[in-house]
């Protein structure tokens, strides 16, 4: 297998983008990535597009073919990849395999989702379609609901506290306020969402015990990367190549109820283990990580399951500041899904784009993890039934 590098990245600010279609967003992010790679007028061998819901939300299918047409990339091979909220990382993984195999040299991976053009309950319903159609969906369960049940179990088993989850929300919104790509640019305080008499109004229960500020927003957005063999990276692009040092992907039962221990996110552990093994690195070698904090609980649980902290220690670590930009392991310096937003098909690609910014040392000082060399991403599908991880390394 050939080593694969990321030589260009692109992203558009996430948020409510009423003026842009899904294709507009995918095209803007892709053009940004082509320009970044120095391939503004060049073609690519293959295109992978990550998208979860255009068929439902936009009544549009064959999105990858449509993107090729927008970008005049014919006759490039093109596939749309759907793996729920982990579609983005799945699409990158497929691109990596295609380049590593020696079959394609240049691959564009773009992820995008347009969720704000439907009303709130439709967006909630769309995301809930990934629950089990017979034994979960009919009851009205939503992804926040799954996360709520999981949170209570985690609190009961490990003593996780509301204060620890609040620390995650405050950290991620503080960092999101510094990120020009983030949907939410509002700093929140402990008083405002937890301690004051207004807290119950400002931060109502959404999926008990999770509250409004434990949830990521519903967003529109797109992000893109260009892949090529590491050996050709310097010929094609002037940017510092970022090596895909390792990747992993694992699945678990569709329902939480069939897991032996429903607090054990086995697919997260396995995906991370595979990625670290392939990279010949360990969790302690990671300088900066983007975890899938669709809910604050997930950042805590994932930080334990991927090996940054022991089980039951992630919440305490967040409260002590160990996951902040100057902490032991900076997590979601971008603001995470919590602030950047979670246009489902775009998220896994956006996480990788953020880590590439970090490893190329291109961010403003307040957001740059000093001298970052190794990054990690985790993209979480379903309620942990399909998870994709990457270990990325700056290639000097």
């Amino acid at each position: 297998m050939r080593d694969v590098a990321i030589i260009g990245v692109g992203m558009i600010p996430f948020g409510r983008r009423d003026e842009d279609s899904l294709l507009d967003m995918l095209a803007y992010a892709s053009l940004d990535a082509l320009d970044d790679a120095g391939m503004s007028e060049k073609g690519v061998d293959a295109v992978y597009v990550a998208n979860m819901g255009a068929g439902i939300l936009q009544h549009q299918t064959s999105v990858a073919s449509a993107l090729v047409d927008r970008l005049s990339l014919q006759p490039a091979a093109a596939d749309t990849i759907e793996n729920g909220p982990a579609s983005g990382a799945s699409a990158i993984k497929n691109g990596v395999l295609a380049v590593a195999s020696g079959y394609y040299d240049t691959v564009l991976v773009a992820g995008g989702e347009k969720m704000r053009e439907v009303v709130g309950w439709k967006a909630t319903d769309f995301v809930a379609t990934m629950t089990h159609p017979e034994v979960e969906y009919p009851y009205g369960i939503t992804l926040p609901g799954m996360a709520g049940m999981f949170t209570r179990l985690y609190m009961e088993k490990y003593g996780l506290t509301q204060e620890q989850l609040i620390a995650v929300a405050i950290k991620n919104q503080k960092m999101g306020a510094l990120n020009p790509y983030a949907h939410v640019n509002m700093v929140i305080t402990r008083e405002g969402i937890y301690e004051s008499p207004d807290a119950a109004v400002n931060n109502p229960v959404a999926a008990d015990p999770l509250r409004f500020y434990d949830m990521c927003p519903v967003s529109d957005g797109a992000a893109a990367v260009i892949l090529c063999p590491l050996e050709k990276a310097r010929e094609i692009s002037r940017k510092i190549p970022v090596l895909i040092a390792g990747f992993g992907q694992a699945t678990d039962t569709h329902t939480l109820q069939e897991r032996e221990d429903p607090t054990d996110l086995k697919a997260v552990t396995l995906a991370a283990e595979q990625a670290f093994r392939m990279a010949n690195l360990k969790p302690k070698d990671v300088d900066v990580a983007e975890l899938h904090d669709a809910f604050t609980i997930l950042e805590v649980a994932e930080s334990e399951h991927v090996g940054f902290f022991k089980k039951g220690e992630g919440g305490k670590a967040a409260e002590k500041g160990e996951t902040s930009i100057n902490g032991k392991i900076p997590i979601n310096v971008s603001g995470g899904l919590k602030s950047r937003g979670h246009p489902v098909g775009a998220t896994g690609v956006a996480q990788v784009v953020e880590i590439v910014f970090q490893l190329r040392h291109e961010l403003v000082p307040k957001r740059q993890v000093k001298d970052a060399k190794v990054g990690f991403t985790l993209n979480f599908g379903g309620f942990g039934n399909n998870v994709v991880a990457f270990v990325l390394r700056r290639s000097e």
């Binding site: 017979e134 009919p138 009851y139 009205g140 609901g145 709520g148 109502p204 229960v205 939480l256 109820q257």
Partner: protein, 117 residues
Amino acid sequence: MKQEIRITAYKCKACGQIHYPYHDRCLACKKRDFEQIKPEGDAHLLAYTQIFNLPWGFDVRFLVIGVVEFANGIKSMGQIQVDSLEKLKTGMSLKPYWGPVRVEAEEPVYGLVLRPS
């Protein structure tokens, strides 16, 4: 009249693993022969939540949803009929019945409903 809980679970004939929902092969031993079994006894509450942002098909302000385990080991999601979460505690016993859980095309959809005993 005692109402039937219309849940069918699948017990692997080779290793005894109980499956709900259905799988074509056993999660544990990958064999394909199952005995169909029905829930028996009270349901013990394993996990629960109260959700306020509801998907399509619900004309209520919130839903309380949980996962229970029946006395014979079948685990299922269900809607819980309580007005406050203060009435619930993990591990407590709930009375199961089969009732309407949502409306689809103006027709009720039936499922597992649970009430404190």
